[in-house]
């Protein structure tokens, strides 16, 4: 920075250069501190306490949302009525900001709550940020999550013909709700307090994500929740005693915060209702109910006014030796402090949690219906997590400083270092961090009641740090001596923020009754397993055997979860509409079973999830129906990106439609790029410029092995001639593209093969790479240690003559195809196909797939408007994906070339790069081999040299 600003050359530059060089280590520390200029809530709160700023009392002000004093032009806002409320503010996009102003009677701390209605049509999270008097009050205020509410379509659940329960649909309940501004990660027990000075204050809402309607903003004095003693003393004294016991099945919940919370089928003795041989949803939650803010609410009735006790039958065998915490609200309010975080300790089996323990809490409930809500809270772990996170960043920083001195990768382990000379405080930092980690283990033990030894990972980390601090010069001897410690701590720390809990039922009783014992006797256990064993002979999980001539047979080359959902979908939406029954079945991926079925005349009507090469092979041999002639084909075809249709073309016919496309995008680590002062590369020339910097730090750029199509596509080289009979890439431009591809490895030293990009990316020695989009979900879900430190961008392209960046990328795809049967069957099948590939079905399917089966079940649709309406992508990612999807361009398939071209080009690549042969010679050989194979195949299919025919 100093260098670029200074235009004076010569001696001054030299001095500044020298100076900045000396300062470099400090600059880097600053860069790290940069991120925390806004302090977190805990620190701010402490500051308020120290300067004796008090909560305001008896204040309540409602500002109508329509009365804003200013808005930025990018915010798309109108005033209208929504769901019965008029004069509300409709925020129809997620950009810009809106400012309100109000007069505070006194200086002090206030709560803010909002009355809102989620108008967003798709299921993405709705988020807004908050500024007070133009400044972000604390770190957590940059992002508030507006909750949604979901409801099951029915209870008891519907059963299929085999007696297995069908998962009910979750529908969003649209209504006006009121929310205190709280931490979206549930790390604080109370709603946030905000400081307002006396007189006029400005509140500014900033756009983040999603669309929302707001009716009013409420500013009020904070409410202190009483403790149990006070609560109990205030209870009505003269309540009558009577006997009452009620068991509420946990799966009979009334609403929940998100569709991620799942009904679970638990086949274990004692779980009610008992699961014997059939799939029954008898529990709820588990690992699906573990993220901050996730809540489940139940409705229950009590017969009379009186004092009741509450208990839960739960299982928490997920996080060993840790407790899962829940905030408990009854009728929308936390009745007393003790319920702000109720611990559900770890245990191998089902346990009973009576609220209040041995002397159960008394709850006063009036006659009639009540609600009880359990929400995940991270508050008890907050300080521990914070300390551990700080330790990790301190160690990461230290590690970076050490590697600045000793180098990255290929460190000379035989060299003796005197690290203290370079980093004088190295042992102090290590000692301090070891102590902090040790303390957290003690804190955890205090919190959860388990022995300190249970937190062995932390103790080991502390011990290792202690050991290293005694002999710091051992650090360079093992490359990952520090990083392995802090990745362990991070992994462990992340455990703390997931708090899974599986519930079987909730119990209510009066004081006169006792909670029944939940233990299962040995006899019951044995009889349960024996019954289950015999029931396993009769249960029938599949629909096969119900063959019917009027049924559309669909074979799906995806796993069973997809198949089940597809069948449910067909039964629910397609069959009622058309009267056509559909039978969806699993089929192993690849061509083998389809070939056999086809030979036996038992082919399905439709196969989906089939890779494009298999579809093409069947098309080539006349087993498939040309879809072009069907009505509605051209509309379906227009919906998907044009590139995804290329592999299905053969002799002028279109023999398939794509479902999913897996293409490449660029992944990069923003922390490392920032450190190396690199911009996100846009073109391959940029990458060539970036590579030396990466290699300087012993890092690599990752590019998938064997992807030759990209360079042809980006340089506008056609692989085949228009009619598909001749190879066309043997042009000077084609040779150049191939040479560029091989030069990346020969000249620029890209790693020939990197087996596990995910691991390298995580570790940071491959801070950038191009790989498939399905890695995104993997990195997001299983690499929490780098969460927030990476992002994706459009894959780099090649500039054409006009300076436009051609970002074409190849990839893989799968889709649906229709077998030749008879006209009636084909017509029915086409109806199904039309329904299945319609944008509406695809959007719902993509979203429900994740709702039912978890976030890892991502649907990579070839249809950009499906991607647009998918819930799980954030809007930035969506933008990248939708853009990159348009740049999808695989090479067409032609007889003989479909398999020979990739093979020969890979061989040419191997010979050039690994065997160091001349690229031109190899390429020429490849061209010869491919062309001769194409000739053979053209002869086989009888299309050789017959004019007017095209093989494409």
């Amino acid at each position: 920075m100093l260098l670029t600003k200074n235009s004076v050359k010569g001696f001054y530059t030299f001095l500044i250069f020298l100076f900045s060089f000396l300062l470099l280590p400090f600059f880097n520390t600053d860069a790290y501190a940069d991120n925390v200029t806004v302090q977190d809530y805990a620190k701010i709160l402490k500051g308020w306490q120290d300067s004796n700023i008090q909560d305001v009392s008896n204040f309540n002000l409602e500002i109508p949302a329509a009365d804003f004093i200013a808005k930025s032009s990018s915010a798309n806002i109108n005033i209208g009525s929504v769901d019965g409320k008029s004069n509300v503010l409709n925020w129809n996009n997620s950009d810009g900001n809106i400012t309100y102003s109000f007069n505070a009677p006194t200086e002090g701390l206030y709560n803010i709550s909002l009355q809102y209605y989620i108008t967003d049509r798709i299921q993405e999270p709705v988020e807004r940020g908050l500024l007070i008097n133009g400044k972000q009050p604390f770190l957590e205020a940059n992002n508030f999550l507006f909750e949604r509410m979901y409801k099951k379509s029915q209870y008891p659940f519907q059963k299929d013909s085999d007696g297995n329960e069908i998962r009910p649909k979750l529908n969003e309940i649209k209504n006006w709700s009121r929310m205190n501004l709280t931490d979206r990660n549930s790390r604080y027990k109370d709603p946030f307090k905000f400081y307002f000075k006396k007189g006029e204050n400005k509140i500014e809402l900033t756009g983040m994500n999603g669309e929302i309607a707001i009716s009013k903003i409420i500013i009020k004095s904070p409410v202190e929740i009483v403790n149990y003693e006070t609560y109990k003393n205030n209870l009505p004294k003269n309540t009558k005693n009577f006997k009452f016991y009620h068991k509420l099945e946990a799966e009979d919940s009334s609403s929940q915060s998100g569709s991620n919370i799942q009904l679970i089928n638990t086949a274990q003795p004692g779980v009610t209702p008992e699961d014997i041989g059939k799939k029954i949803f008898n529990t709820i939650g588990g690992t699906s109910w573990s993220n901050p803010h996730d809540w489940i609410e139940w409705k229950f009735k009590v017969p009379r006014d009186g004092i009741y006790n509450i208990a839960f039958k739960y299982k928490q065998n997920f996080n060993s030796d840790l407790s899962s915490y829940r905030k408990i609200e009854i009728d929308g309010k936390v009745p007393f402090k003790e319920l702000l975080s109720v611990s559900f300790p770890y245990g191998g089996t089902w346990q009973s949690k009576v609220l209040g323990g041995d002397t159960p809490f008394d709850f006063y409930l009036t006659k009639g219906e009540h609600t009880i809500r359990l929400s995940v809270t991270n508050a008890p772990y907050r300080s521990i997590q914070k300390e551990l996170t700080n330790t990790v960043s301190s160690l990461r920083e230290l590690d970076y400083r050490i590697h600045n001195i000793i180098g990255v990768n290929n460190v000379d382990t035989y060299r003796m270092w005197d690290l203290k000379q370079y980093i004088p405080d190295i042992d102090d930092v290590l000692k301090k961090d070891a102590r902090i980690v040790q303390e957290q283990a003690a804190n955890l033990s205090k919190l959860t009641g388990f022995k300190e030894n249970s937190f062995g990972e932390l103790l080991t980390a502390a011990k290792d740090l202690q050991k290293l601090s005694l002999n710091v010069n051992n650090i360079p001897k093992k490359e990952d001596s520090l990083s392995s410690i802090y990745t362990n701590i991070t992994d462990w720390n992340n455990n703390l923020s997931t708090q899974p809990l599986l519930l079987d039922y909730v119990e209510f009783k009066t004081k006169e009754n006792t909670f029944p014992n939940i233990d299962v006797s040995l006899l019951d256990k044995v009889s349960f397993y024996i019954k289950g064993f015999f029931a396993s002979f009769t249960s029938n999980d599949s629909n096969t055997g119900k063959m019917n001539s009027n049924t559309v047979q669909v074979w799906v080359q995806r796993n069973q979860d997809y198949v089940n959902l597809m069948q449910t979908y067909a039964n629910e939406y397609f069959t009622p509409k058309t009267g056509i029954k559909v039978n969806v079945n699993y089929c192993p991926p690849g061509a083998n079973l389809l070939v056999l079925a086809n030979a036996a005349g038992k082919q399905p009507d439709i196969a989906t999830g089939v890779d494009s090469y298999t579809t093409y092979s069947f098309a080539e041999r006349g087993a498939l129906v040309n879809l072009k002639k069907y009505s509605g084909y051209s509309e379906l075809q227009k919906k998907v990106v044009p590139g995804s249709l290329v592999p299905y073309r053969y002799l002028g016919g279109d023999y398939g439609l794509p479902e999913e496309v897996i293409y490449n995008v660029l992944y990069y680590r923003n922390d490392l790029l920032k450190r190396y002062n690199l911009a996100v590369p846009q073109t391959w020339n940029d990458i060539i410029k970036v590579i030396p910097t990466l290699e300087e730090h012993n890092n690599d750029f990752f590019y998938p092995y064997g992807d030759f199509q990209t360079f042809f596509a980006q340089n506008n080289v056609d692989v085949y001639s228009k009619d598909g009979l001749k190879l066309a890439f043997n042009t000077p431009q084609g040779y150049k593209s191939f040479q560029f591809w091989t030069d990346l490895y020969i000249k620029y030293g890209m790693p020939e093969q990197m087996v596990n990009f995910y691991q390298h990316f995580r570790q940071g020695d491959a801070p950038m790479g191009i790989t498939t989009i399905d890695q995104y979900i993997m990195l997001e879900l299983s690499a929490p240690d780098i969460s927030g430190l990476w992002n994706i961008a459009l894959a780099p392209g090649t500039k054409d003559q006009n300076g436009m960046i051609q970002r074409w990328e190849a990839g893989t795809q799968n889709g649906a195809m229709m077998f030749k049967t008879n006209t009636a069957r084909q017509d029915r099948a086409w109806q199904f196909m039309k329904w299945w590939l319609s944008t509406k079905t695809q959007v719902n399917f993509a979203n429900d797939l994740q709702n039912y089966d978890g976030p890892e079940f991502m649907w990579y649709s070839a249809n950009p408007s499906v991607v647009e309406q998918q819930n799980s992508w954030s809007s930035d990612v969506k933008k990248v994906l939708m853009n990159q999807l348009q740049w999808y361009k695989p090479i067409p398939y032609v007889p003989g070339g479909s398999y020979m071209t990739p093979r020969e080009l890979w061989n040419a690549w191997t010979a050039t790069v690994i065997d160091k042969k001349n690229f031109r010679q190899q390429m020429e050989m490849a061209v010869r081999n491919i062309q001769s194979e194409m000739d053979v195949k053209q002869q086989e299919f009888g299309i050789k040299e017959s004019k007017g025919n095209s093989a494409k």
Binding site: R621, Q753, H760, Y899, N907
Partner: protein, 321 residues
């Protein structure tokens, strides 16, 4: 003359008819025997004779596995010997090298190992036998979990990492991608994996040798273990040796997946690890030329039969023994 010829013909046909009738009667008489062999015969015909016969037929056709086969005569075999350059240039030499190493050399190692372990005290024997047999049980899984990681082509691969740390190489070697190394690695891994079965039968054979023979041998002047091995052990375990030999040779001819598993590519890079099985698969399931693929299978069958015959010649029990 004419008459006699005619008579002759009538007589001949009569005799023939008589013969058929006799056979039929004979079969009828022995129907219980036929009944007894029926279960085997039916299975044998359905599962062995018919497929082999169909394969033989298919090898004279052009069949793309979806449309009905077309008869093409000897074309497939003509192509095999005159045009299939990959077969001649890579597949046959590779298969030959692979078979020589994995077959005889692997076999010798199996025997050596069995013999060495047999010398151990009884306590340890079982432990070693178990340890050596384990790879054969876990073969497929182990290949992807252990070997692929070991020979991983980047810096993190165990072998590359070790060599880099020792300062032997400076840049990671693409072990399973490089044509120079792939076949060697395939041979190594296959020997490791196939050790078990042959080893077990040889080990069983060693246990079976009559102890009195050794005693007699000692009296007859056998001086050391090697002599014992050569004059007593080997001759008395010929059947097991034959079994192990046939298994390892046929096994090595049939191996194919290993190269694909290691390199993660089918076909293997530059056909470096292309064995006859890969080649068959290539034609059968990638190029959909099942006719040609069956022709190749047929040739493989003949080759395997020939090699087995040779083995019999060396190891089989002769009439006079």
């Amino acid at each position: 003359m004419k008459m006699s010829m005619k008579e002759d013909r009538i007589l001949k046909s009569k005799i023939r008819r008589e013969k058929v009738k006799n056979t039929w009667l004979e079969m009828k008489r022995n129907k219980t025997s036929y009944l007894f062999i029926a279960p085997f015969m039916i299975c044998f015909i359905i599962f062995i004779v018919v497929p082999v016969f169909t394969a033989a037929l298919l090898s004279f056709t052009s069949f793309n596995s979806i449309q009905p086969p077309k008869f093409v005569g000897l074309l497939n075999f003509k192509i095999m010997f005159s045009q299939d350059s990959v077969l001649m240039k890579y597949v046959i030499p590779n298969t030959f090298k692979f078979a020589i190493f994995v077959g005889p050399i692997g076999y010798a190692m199996q025997f050596l190992l069995a013999w060495l372990i047999n010398q151990l005290p009884k306590k340890f024997k079982k432990l070693y036998v178990m340890a050596i047999y384990t790879p054969s049980i876990a073969g497929g899984v182990m290949i992807s979990t252990v070997w692929v990681v070991l020979f991983s082509s980047d810096r993190l691969g165990y072998l590359n990492n070790l060599l880099i740390n020792l300062g032997i190489i400076s840049h990671p070697i693409a072990w399973t991608q490089s044509p120079d190394y792939l076949l060697g690695i395939m041979i190594f891994v296959t020997i490791w994996g196939s050790m078990g079965v042959g080893f077990l039968s040889l080990f069983a054979g060693l246990q079976n040798v009559d102890a009195t023979l050794y005693e007699a041998g000692k009296i007859d002047g056998i001086k050391n273990n090697l002599q014992e091995l050569w004059y007593i052990t080997l001759p008395s375990m010929k059947p097991q040796m034959l079994f192990a030999a046939v298994m390892s040779i046929v096994g090595s001819l049939n191996a194919g997946q290993i190269g694909v598993q290691l390199s993660g590519q089918n076909p293997t890079p530059n056909y470096a690890g292309q064995l006859i099985q890969n080649h068959i698969e290539d034609y059968g399931f990638i190029r959909y030329e099942l006719g040609y693929a069956t022709a190749l299978t047929f040739m493989l069958l003949i080759a395997a039969y020939a090699v087995t015959k040779i083995t019999w010649f060396f190891l089989g029990t002769k009439e006079d023994e």
